[in-house]
């Protein structure tokens, strides 16, 4: 698309609000407000791959989780899984694996609840172009107090699960190379069991909100920021959804398998990353399909699409209902992420329920040792999608190479496509570019629950500033919510 022609105006949404991290959107319009280009830019630089070099390998699970304050457990566990390989351990003890799973499901539950209730529910409950003074989490708390309390309590429950498995609600130390550093005491288990039935019920309620919104607004949901794409996730050997461990599966928009049951230690044979000059975030793609056709979605929508089934009964029933909308074919609707996310939320709490009743969690075998290796890859299905950690470690135990492909990076191209699609559908030719119209762009981005920096500082109210600039850089108009 030509972006250098004269008389183009540039709209900048900076920062994008109610997402984790800092990003901005630029939209180039001509004199008749026709959209020429719309892009999501990630404006933060992440230097973790550089400054972990030289550090001892056992620090990685604790060090790299500092990437993020929202889902640090995902980085903690992905690094720990890579370091399991480095210390020569291919199979953990049942106690270690189940403690890690419990930690991870707690993470998924709190992160999905946070996103649904705090970040995206204002758009769904009040409308995309509702008054921004109401269209926020405080507005939700005022008009839907029961729902708001459930959101807070569900997130708290997930954080409590993390605390008893990792030692702290944020940035704990539970997973260590080759295992875990604690088991679950009877007292810790019983505290969590007291509220588990309530959490399952609330997760079902949240799923109903997301499903009802999608079904009742199908005419709006179907075209909104939607496009066909490939989908990628980990998958269990029997085809079940598995958020903690599995092999890689990629499918195309019709559900045909591009590759399946790929050992992720060999991910570099299948995945590559492209660099573009307008973003610090790379653009991953499936090697065999190239940059044009190889991009893919990850996260809840991709995982529900790639899974043959879910191994917990309530979430499986919900998955079947979800897949019926598209006659069993992959769902390629951007707004369907919310529904899929709440199916996963229910799955996570069902898994927590199962694990709390598993006596293996009180086992004594915590760590396994093996023969040191020079390299390890750890993958996990983080709340926002497939997370890759890859390290090389020298004979002195120091890290010599780190490559992290974070979940949101995998969704870079889809988010850009969603931004472009919504801009074309809603802004193109509009007589006036209102805040409500611009929020449509943010709604599309929010559906992916991006963690743009994997940083802690993006929660809460963030300033929204929109500048209308002509092609010569002259400021025509500026609006701010501050």
């Amino acid at each position: 698309m030509n972006t250098s022609s004269a008389n183009l105006k540039k709209i900048v949404i900076e920062p994008v609000t109610r997402v984790e991290g800092h990003g901005k959107v630029t939209i180039l319009l001509d004199e008749k407000n026709k959209v020429h280009q719309a892009r999501l830019h990630v404006v933060e630089f992440r230097g973790f791959e550089r400054f972990v070099l030289g550090r001892p390998y056992w620090e990685m699970p604790v060090l790299v989780q500092r990437l993020c304050g929202i889902c640090p457990v995902s980085h903690h566990l992905a690094a720990a899984k890579a370091m399991d390989i480095v210390v020569g351990v291919d199979k953990l003890t049942p106690t270690a694996e189940k403690m890690r799973r419990l930690m991870h499901y707690g993470q998924t539950f709190q992160s999905h609840s946070l996103h649904f209730f705090h970040l995206c529910s204002p758009d769904l409950l009040f409308g995309f172009d509702a008054d921004p003074a109401i269209r926020n989490v405080i507005g939700v708390a005022q008009k839907f107090p029961d729902l708001a309390v459930q959101g807070v309590m569900m997130r708290k429950y997930g954080q409590e699960v993390i605390k008893v498995t990792a030692g702290k609600k944020i940035h704990g130390t539970g997973a260590i190379p080759g295992g875990i550093n604690k088991n679950l005491s009877i007292e810790e288990r019983d505290v969590l069991l007291r509220e588990i039935d309530q959490m399952v019920a609330w997760a079902q309620g949240a799923l109903k909100v997301a499903k009802d919104y999608s079904v009742e607004n199908l005419e709006k949901v179907i075209p909104f920021g939607s496009f066909e794409s490939n989908h990628l996730s980990l998958i269990r050997e029997d085809g079940a959804m598995d958020l903690y461990h599995g092999n890689l599966r990629a499918i195309d928009a019709q559900g045909n398998k591009i590759f399946d049951q790929v050992d992720y230690q060999n991910y570099l044979d299948y995945i590559n990353e492209e660099v573009r000059d307008y973003s610090y975030m790379k653009f991953p793609f499936i090697k065999a399909l190239g940059t044009q056709d190889g991009w893919y979605r990850v996260g809840p929508l991709a995982r529900v699409n790639t899974a043959d089934f879910i191994d917990t009964p309530l979430a499986e029933a919900a998955r079947k209902e979800f897949m019926a909308v598209t006659d069993g074919k992959p769902n390629n609707l951007t707004l369907a992420y919310h529904w899929a996310r709440m199916i996963e939320n229910l799955h996570a709490i069902e898994k927590i329920q199962d694990l709390l009743n598993d006596p293996d969690l009180q086992g004594k075998g915590l760590v396994v040792k093996g023969e040191r290796r020079g390299e390890g890859v750890g993958l996990i299905e983080a709340p926002r999608g497939t997370l890759f950690h890859h390290y090389r470690v020298d004979e002195n135990d120091q890290v010599t190479m780190a490559n992290l492909i974070v979940s949101t990076t995998n969704n870079n191209e889809p988010m850009n496509r969603a931004v472009q699609k919504v801009a074309m559908d809603h802004l193109d030719g509009a007589p006036e570019i209102t805040e409500g119209l611009l929020n449509h762009i943010e709604v599309a981005i929010r559906a992916y629950d991006p963690c743009l920096s994997c940083a802690t500082h993006a929660m809460g109210q963030m300033p929204l500033e929109v500048s209308l600039i002509d092609c010569e850089g002259k400021l025509i108009d500026k609006k701010s919510n501050r």
């Binding site: 056992w58 699970p61 760590v367």
Partner: protein, 236 residues
């Protein structure tokens, strides 16, 4: 029998034996005086100054200052606490102490004293020095970023292990710990069972692979503040 000497610490009468330091007498009385370089069994040399007390109006190092009849020692007062906080804060800014990811966290004496003194954020500017790592030894890892130059490893290696693996080199800002080899720790005769491997108060000398094996909540200073063991003597 040794002569009993009576003096006061913060107005409380304390009895010690002739030849004891203020720190030894205070320990016996269950009064905690913070310290970092002091190593039991070795000759104190007052390098860290964290044990500074005010004796009859003058600052002195409690680890080397002998007790005397009737001396008035100020220990837990706002003035002394401020001196110690300044010293501790300078240690933090002189090195690169990233407590959140340090495997010594929870077992670190520097961190524990900072917590005990109520330090939140150092008021001095961080220097962010460029420091070396030595991971060459199969069992021991040296991270100079965290070294506070207390000298415990120097003393332990020389006086207890009889090896002289570590020593100071340089002066002033250039002062650092060096190993007794051309370049690397692996070329010394340091053994994992040496006392020198166990005395570092911070995370500068660590045993490899131990990492975060002790969960949060069960680490040494998770349970009680540093000095609590000494203060328990007060009730005996």
């Amino acid at each position: 029998m040794s002569e009993t000497i009576t003096f006061t610490i913060d107005g409380v009468e304390v009895k010690g034996k002739a030849g004891q330091t203020i720190m030894q007498a205070a320990d016996g009385a269950g009064i905690y005086i913070p310290r970092l370089c002091y190593l039991e069994g070795c000759e104190p040399f007052a390098s860290c100054r964290v044990c500074t007390v005010i004796v009859n109006g003058r600052p002195q190092a409690a680890c080397t200052q002998p007790i005397a009849p009737g001396i008035v020692v100020e220990n837990n007062t706002p003035e002394v606490t401020q001196i110690r906080k300044d010293i501790i804060e300078m240690m933090f800014v002189e090195g690169n102490h990233f407590c959140p990811v340090c495997d010594k966290s929870g077992n670190c004496e520097l961190q524990a004293i900072a917590y005990r003194l109520g330090i939140l954020v150092p008021k001095f500017p961080y220097l962010f020095p460029v420091r070396e790592l030595d991971a060459s030894h199969p069992y021991i890892f040296i991270d100079q970023n965290r070294c506070i130059l207390c000298g415990r490893c120097v003393q332990a290696s020389r006086d207890i292990d009889g090896k002289h693996v570590f020593d100071f080199v340089g002066r002033g800002p250039e002062k650092k710990i060096r190993v007794n080899a051309a370049a690397r720790l692996a070329d010394t005769d340091l053994d994992i069972t040496d006392k020198a491997c166990d005395v570092c108060p911070v995370g500068a000398i660590l045993k490899k692979g131990v990492g975060y094996a002790v969960p949060i909540g069960q680490r040494l200073y998770d349970k009680q503040p540093i000095g609590s063991d000494i203060e328990a003597n007060a009730n005996k």
